[in-house]
C-alpha cells in the first residue's frame, strides 16, 4: 500500500472542512463564517490501494507570511512537501477565490483545483466550462459538491492520477516587472540549495512584494548579494511608480479575469443574490442581532426545563398546563431516570460501602453529567444551525457598531458565540482576529462567557429558586457575563491605547445566507457531544473516584460513612471565611466550598460533588437540601458563571499565549471579578423584599 500526503487548501469559507468531513467521515467544525478553522486537522483514509493522509488547513486569502494561518499553510507546503495540494475554489466567488489558487500554482505544480459548492452554483444559473479552465491552467479541475456528495470519488481518482504526473508551474505575465523578476532570479540561482527548495521565480516575486520571510531567508543565505537585490527592487519601484505588492496583485487579478475565466463562466441569470439589507442597518442591526441570539437561548430553555413558559402560564392561571409542561420537560424526565437507576443499584447491592462507591462516587459524578446530554445536544443543534446559516457574519456587522464603543470589533462574535458551547474552541477561534491586541484581550475575556457545563449548574440553581427569580436568574447571569466581558475589555483597551494607535476595525466577507444543512449541524453537535462524553469518561470519572475517597476518609485515614468528618470537609472548611460574606454558613458550608474547589477542574463536577456530599440522589433535591437562602443562591450562580471555567480552558489560554504571567493573571482576574460581583449580587438581592 503506498502512502500519500494530501493537503486541502483554499480561501476562508470555500468549503474545505466540509469536504474534509465527507472524505474522512470526520466531524471538524464547519461554519458559514470566513476563518472557522484555525489549526490544521488531519485524518488518514484508505482508497483503492492507497493510504491517503488528508490535512484540513486554515483558510487563507493568499500565500503571504502575514497571519498565523498563512504561516501554518505555507510551512505545510514547503516543509512537509505534500504529494498533492487540493486547492479549493468557490464556484459562487470564482474570481476572488482563484487568487489563492494562482498563488499556489506559482509555488508548486503538485496541485489540482476542486471547484466547490457546484450544487448551488447550478441552481443560481452559474455555468462553468471546467475543461477550458483546466486547459488554461495546466492542472486538473474537478467540480465537487461535498454537501451532495457528488464528484468526491472523481476527486479521489484525480488525486491519485495527478500524483503520478509531473506538472509545470503556472507562469503569469507581470508586464513591466518581468525584467526585474528575471534579474532577481539570476542572482538567486547562485544558491542552488535555495532554488531547489523554492522556485526561483516565486522567490523573486515574494522578494519584490516585500514578504518578510523571504526577505529574511535571502538576507541569511545570500548576505553578500543582498544589497544588489535591494537595488533591483528599488529600481523596479521607481519604474512601476507604485507599491509593488499592489502591482503584483493587480496583474494576478487581471490574469484571472481576462485570461483564465474569460468565456469560461456564464451567468445565465443576472439576478445577484442580495442579502436582506436589514442586517446592514446601523440602528436596527444591533437590536436584531441581540434579539436573535436571545430568542435562540430562550427556545432552548423552554424545551429543557419548561420555564419561563411555566412561570408565565402559572401567572395567567393555567396552573395545570404549567405543571404538565414541567413534568414533561427534558430535565424532569431525566431526573426520573436517574432516581430509578440509583434505587435499582441500592436494591441489588444493599447499603454497603461498595454501593455507596457506585452511587455516590461513580453515578453521582459521571451520570449526573451524562444525563445532561440531551440538553447539550439541543443547545448545540441550535448553535450549529446558527453557525451554518450565515447569520453570524451578519450579526457581526450589527454587533460591530455596538462593540466598537467598547474597543472590540465585529470579529469578536465568533469566539463569543462559540464560547457559549465550550470555551476551548472559543479561545482558539480568536486566532482569526486580525488585530493582535484585540485577540489577546479576547483570549483573556471570552472564558467569562458561560459554557454548557456552567449552564447545567445554573439551571439547577434556578430551578431550586423557582418562580420569577428562578426564571430570570439564567438570562440575568448571561447578561452579567456579557457586560463583564465588555467592560473589562474597555478598561484593557484604554490601557493599551497609549501603546498602539490602530483602531479596531471590521474587514469581513459576508457569505450568502442559506438554510442550515442537517449534515453540517449534526457534525457540529456530534463534535461537541463527543468532547463532552470523553470528558465524562476520563477526567470526571477519575476525579469522582478520587473525590469519593476524599469524602470517605477522615484526616486520620480511617473509613467514614459521614462525609462531614472527611478530609474533603476538613480542607474545604478553609474556605468558610470567604463564603460567609455570601451568606453561606452552618454545617453545610464545607459542601459548597468543596463543590467550588472541584469546579475549578471542571464545572460539571460541582453537581456531582453536591450529590455525593449530601447523599441526596437528585442534583436539584441535593442542592435544595443545603438550605441556602435566595440571595446566596443568586450570588453563587454569578460566582459559578464567572470564576475560572476549567483546567482545559487554562491550558488553552497558556498554549495560545505561551505566557505564564498572562495565564496566571487571567486566573486571578477571573477569581477576583467573580468574587466581587457575587458579593455585590448578594447584598443587592438582600435589599429586595422577596
Amino acid at each position: 500500500m503506498s502512502k500519500l500526503l494530501v493537503g486541502l487548501i483554499g480561501q476562508p469559507n470555500v468549503g474545505k472542512s466540509t469536504l474534509f468531513n465527507v472524505l474522512t467521515k470526520g466531524n471538524v467544525i464547519v461554519s458559514n463564517w470566513p476563518g472557522t478553522t484555525v489549526e490544521r486537522v488531519e485524518s488518514t483514509i484508505k482508497y483503492k490501494e492507497y493510504e491517503i493522509k488528508i490535512v484540513d488547513l486554515p483558510g487563507i486569502y493568499g500565500l503571504s507570511y502575514f497571519t498565523l494561518e498563512e504561516k501554518i499553510s505555507r510551512n505545510f507546503i514547503v516543509e512537509e512537501n505534500p504529494d498533492l495540494l487540493v486547492v479549493l475554489v468557490d464556484s459562487l466567488a470564482l474570481e476572488r477565490t482563484f487568487y489563492l489558487a494562482v498563488e499556489v500554482l506559482e509555488l508548486t505544480s503538485k496541485a489540482l483545483i476542486a471547484i466547490t459548492k457546484v450544487d448551488i452554483a447550478h441552481s443560481k444559473g452559474i455555468h462553468v466550462n471546467y475543461d477550458l479552465i483546466e486547459k488554461r491552467l495546466g492542472v486538473p479541475v474537478v467540480p465537487v459538491s461535498a454537501i451532495k456528495g457528488s464528484g468526491v470519488e472523481e476527486l479521489l481518482d484525480k488525486i491519485i492520477e495527478k500524483t503520478r504526473i509531473q506538472g509545470r508551474l503556472l507562469r503569469i505575465d507581470y508586464g513591466e516587472l518581468e525584467p526585474f523578476i528575471t534579474g532577481i532570479e539570476d542572482v538567486l540561482r547562485v544558491d542552488r540549495e535555495l532554488v531547489s527548495k523554492y522556485p526561483a521565480r516565486w522567490l523573486a516575486l515574494k522578494f519584490l512584494e516585500g514578504d518578510e520571510e523571504v526577505e529574511k531567508l535571502v538576507k541569511e543565505k545570500l548576505s553578500d548579494k543582498y544589497r544588489e537585490l535591494v537595488e533591483i527592487r528599488e529600481e523596479a519601484r521607481r519604474r512601476i511608480g507604485r507599491d509593488l505588492a499592489a502591482y503584483i496583485s493587480m496583474r494576478k487579478m487581471h490574469f484571472i479575469r481576462d485570461n483564465l475565466l474569460k468565456n469560461a463562466v456564464v451567468y445565465a441569470r443576472l439576478e445577484r443574490a442580495r442579502s436582506p439589507r436589514i442586517f446592514y442597518n446601523p440602528y436596527i442591526a444591533p437590536l436584531l442581532s441581540t434579539s436573535i441570539i436571545f430568542a435562540l437561548f430562550l427556545l432552548v430553555f423552554i424545551v429543557n426545563t419548561g420555564y419561563p413558559l411555566t412561570t408565565i402560564l402559572e401567572h395567567l392561571g393555567y396552573t395545570e398546563l404549567a405543571v404538565l409542561l414541567e413534568e414533561y420537560s427534558l430535565s424532569s424526565l431525566i431526573e426520573k431516570l436517574f432516581d430509578a437507576l440509583n434505587n435499582y443499584i441500592i436494591g441489588v447491592l444493599g447499603e454497603t460501602p461498595f454501593s455507596s462507591f457506585i452511587t455516590d462516587g461513580i453515578i453521582a459524578g459521571v451520570v449526573s453529567v451524562v444525563v445532561f446530554i440531551p440538553l447539550i445536544a439541543i443547545v448545540m443543534l441550535a448553535l450549529g444551525a446558527l453557525e451554518d446559516s450565515g447569520l453570524l457574519p451578519r450579526l457581526a456587522i450589527g454587533a460591530h457598531i455596538l462593540l466598537s464603543k467598547f474597543g472590540l470589533s465585529g470579529h469578536a462574535i465568533l469566539p463569543l458565540t462559540l464560547s457559549l458551547g465550550c470555551n476551548v474552541p472559543g479561545v482558539m477561534s480568536t486566532r482569526a482576529i486580525p488585530n493582535h491586541f484585540e485577540r489577546l484581550r479576547l483570549i483573556l475575556l471570552t472564558p467569562f462567557i458561560p459554557c454548557q457545563a456552567r449552564l447545567l449548574v445554573l439551571l439547577v440553581l434556578s430551578a431550586s429558586l423557582g418562580g420569577v427569580i428562578g426564571a430570570l436568574l439564567v438570562p440575568l447571569v448571561y447578561l452579567a457575563s456579557f457586560l463583564v466581558v465588555l467592560l473589562l475589555n474597555y478598561v484593557l483597551y484604554l490601557f493599551e491605547k497609549r501603546k498602539q494607535h490602530e483602531e479596531v476595525e471590521l474587514l469581513l466577507e459576508i457569505p450568502p445566507l442559506h438554510r442550515p444543512y442537517f449534515k453540517v449541524v449534526w457534525w457540529f453537535t456530534w463534535h461537541h457531544l463527543k468532547h463532552f462524553l470523553v470528558k465524562a469518561g476520563t477526567i470526571i470519572f477519575l476525579v469522582s473516584i478520587i473525590s469519593w475517597g476524599l469524602q470517605h476518609t477522615t484526616p486520620t485515614f480511617a473509613y467514614t460513612e459521614n462525609p462531614g468528618e472527611s478530609i474533603a470537609a476538613f480542607i474545604s472548611r478553609g474556605l468558610e471565611v470567604l463564603l460567609k460574606p455570601l451568606g453561606v454558613s452552618g454545617e453545610n458550608t464545607w459542601i459548597v466550598g468543596y463543590a467550588l474547589l472541584l469546579g475549578f477542574l471542571a464545572k460539571e463536577l460541582i453537581l456531582g460533588a453536591i450529590v455525593a456530599s449530601t447523599g441526596v440522589n437528585d442534583p436539584l433535591d441535593a442542592y435544595r437540601s443545603l438550605g441556602l437562602s435566595i440571595p446566596t443562591s443568586v450570588s453563587l450562580a454569578l460566582f459559578i458563571a464567572l470564576y475560572v471555567p476549567c483546567l482545559a480552558t487554562i491550558a488553552i489560554i497558556y498554549s495560545e499565549t505561551k505566557n505564564w504571567k498572562t495565564t496566571i493573571s487571567t486566573i486571578v482576574l477571573m477569581l477576583s471579578t467573580a468574587y466581587l460581583l457575587a458579593l455585590l449580587a448578594y447584598n443587592i438581592t438582600m435589599l429586595i423584599p422577596l
Binding site: Y99, A246, M253, Y280, I401, S409, E502, E505, L507, I510
Partner: protein, 76 residues
C-alpha cells in the same frame, strides 16, 4: 476633480474604481480579497455610520469606516 473621494463618503448604489489604498496592516489583506487599485466596487450599503458594505465581483464584504477612509476612489 470632485468625483475623487474616499470610499466612506460614497453614496449607496454607486460604482467606484479604486485609485489608491493608503496605510497600514490591512492593505495586504485587502489586495488578496480583490480590493486593490484598478478594481471596481459597488457600494451596497452606506448610511453614514457603522460598517459599509461593498460588492466585489460576486461577493459582499463589510468594511469598517476607518479602513474605508483610507481607500481613495473615483466615482463612476
Amino acid at each position: 476633480m470632485e468625483n475623487i473621494t474616499s470610499l466612506d463618503t460614497v453614496e449607496e448604489g454607486r460604482t467606484v474604481t479604486i485609485l489608491e489604498i493608503h496605510g497600514g496592516g490591512w492593505r495586504r489583506r485587502l489586495y488578496q480579497m480583490g480590493i486593490l487599485p484598478g478594481s471596481h466596487l459597488e457600494v451596497v450599503f452606506n448610511r453614514g455610520t457603522g460598517p459599509i458594505i461593498v460588492r466585489v465581483g460576486n461577493a459582499e464584504i463589510s468594511l469598517g469606516r476607518g479602513i474605508a477612509r483610507k481607500i481613495l476612489v473615483k466615482v463612476e
